[in-house]
Symmetry: C2
Subunit: 337 residues, 2 copies
Amino acid sequence: MGEATIRDVARRAEVSVASVSRALNGLNNVRGETRERIMAAAKELGYVPHAGARSLSLARAHAIGVVLPDLHGEFFSECVRGMDREASRRGYLLLLSNMHDDSEQAAVALRAMRGRVDGLLVMAPHIPLEALERALPATLPAVLINAPGEIASRPALRLDNRAGARAMVEHLLGGGHRHIVHIAGPEGNVDAQERAQGFRDALAELAPDMPVRIISGDFNEEAGEAAAREIVASSAPCDAVFAANDMMAIGCLHTLRQAGKRVPEDIAVAGFDDVPLARYLALTTIEVRIAEIGARAVSRLIDMLEGKGADTRTELHEPQLIARATTAARVNGAAHG
Amino acid sequence: MGEATIRDVARRAEVSVASVSRALNGLNNVRGETRERIMAAAKELGYVPHAGARSLSLARAHAIGVVLPDLHGEFFSECVRGMDREASRRGYLLLLSNMHDDSEQAAVALRAMRGRVDGLLVMAPHIPLEALERALPATLPAVLINAPGEIASRPALRLDNRAGARAMVEHLLGGGHRHIVHIAGPEGNVDAQERAQGFRDALAELAPDMPVRIISGDFNEEAGEAAAREIVASSAPCDAVFAANDMMAIGCLHTLRQAGKRVPEDIAVAGFDDVPLARYLALTTIEVRIAEIGARAVSRLIDMLEGKGADTRTELHEPQLIARATTAARVNGAAHG
DNA sequence: TTGTACGCGTTATCAT
DNA sequence: ATGATAACGCGTACAA
């Protein structure tokens, strides 16, 4: 009682399954009249090829597996949107699977893809490199996105977190801010690590006299709120906060204002990601064009699958600073102390 | 040179493929010693079953197809997140496909799923019912989400847009607002239609003396801005705006304030969806728990697939009003005029 | 307990 | 131009 198969079509058109396959796939070695009879039979039966059987026979699924961590809302959807756009443009479907924080589960998720997809897109800023390498089926093409390092012969895309952090430090120093505090992301996350390191390096180079102050966080709003309370309570000078992502910046912003601090007059606040909220709150941030990165990852993977160049280099994507009101330049020089 | 197959494992363990299959699938009719030899061989070869072949043999793919329209960011990701949570909990993968505005493309997207998934989740508030029905493979189980009507024997979930709109009208009237303008969503979209109709009906019942005023929009921020300009320019009284979604409400809010209107003192503003932005802008809105709806849709589909009751009823999800500052009650009675 | 052989729905090879 | 048939990798009757 299932769907009609190629055999049903063959029977109805009174030809062999081979001819049906040829006709339906547009091969030219089939007589016009025969072709028409086949097409008619197919239409009458509402025949649709069985993609599973097809991919078994062709050894190509025309699907690519996408394994993402638990991303903050807008980031996730934009990433998938970018991927889907490019994938559907090139005739591929996306098989989705969330990889939670656990390395074990990540391996399971990756194995589940075997035999259903032609290649993998893996974003894993929080999985140790060796674990990732081990979990990745050796023969399955894969493109890494923001992995915590490079794996030989695996093409990869990376966001240039360091450059973003550096740009922000330059921007803040240029605005007359001197005592910049960084709110870091989760420890195991490469993006967080690189942003923190970029902050450290930029400060060491551009303002070597300033002490480097970093408060730990976890990318959630609450961490930003906690950091704000710590900053307000502390006697250490602080005239600017650079959070490792927008959500923490936003939490910080709110709490600072509630505590009576004026932003940016007393303390400037900046984030990273440029989530839609950032624009509405006039939050200075680093724009990460995640949809573009996703689309590009798909494109590289498909190029690989179709033999159009197996470029195995790591591609660095430069983020861009978006200056808004929360980091307006200081007007006087009363920054010290 | 591909991955190891079940045959390779059989050869290495010196047994038949049947025994390998049995051992790997945990059947009990295999001797302990044999099983261990098989397990060892599988591990040594890094064998992972080929899901494609498996599903062809079992006639079950353990995957479900998700066909969504081009959703606004957060809405999309939350929906997919909810679906993925439930799907992975029950051992299914999600095959994603965006269905753009075109009915033709929708049909193509649906057909591409044949032979790869066990069932379909379709959200199509913008596709005419007949087109949707025609495009849906007759024998493939499917759960409809916010479809523009009901299809016999197809289980469905719906957001109760009318109830949401009515709750908002009650809230606004209760706050002393009298001249409420509705900014509608795109014409072909059921959610938009139902919200507008709910607005009309509620007003007709609760404030029959008030004229019903509706400005057309398209769910985008710009439409809200345009509506705001129209409201400001018009001589018709207006002390409250109820937009069919948050993004339009937000656009409206900004433009009204830029035009010197105080919100909510001069004009109250409300939206629909409760996107994260809404909370930060203190926008009154209707909370739509889309992740929950997505998870529930998956759950119903899998129940169906596994024979645990083929409940074909339409399930109505009640949204909830979230009152925030943009619709604070009027303090005096100077509303008329 | 174990093995042989067939079927799942296609495509591709090799005849004719 | 067309047809018979062997793959593709797996599960599972059925036989032993």
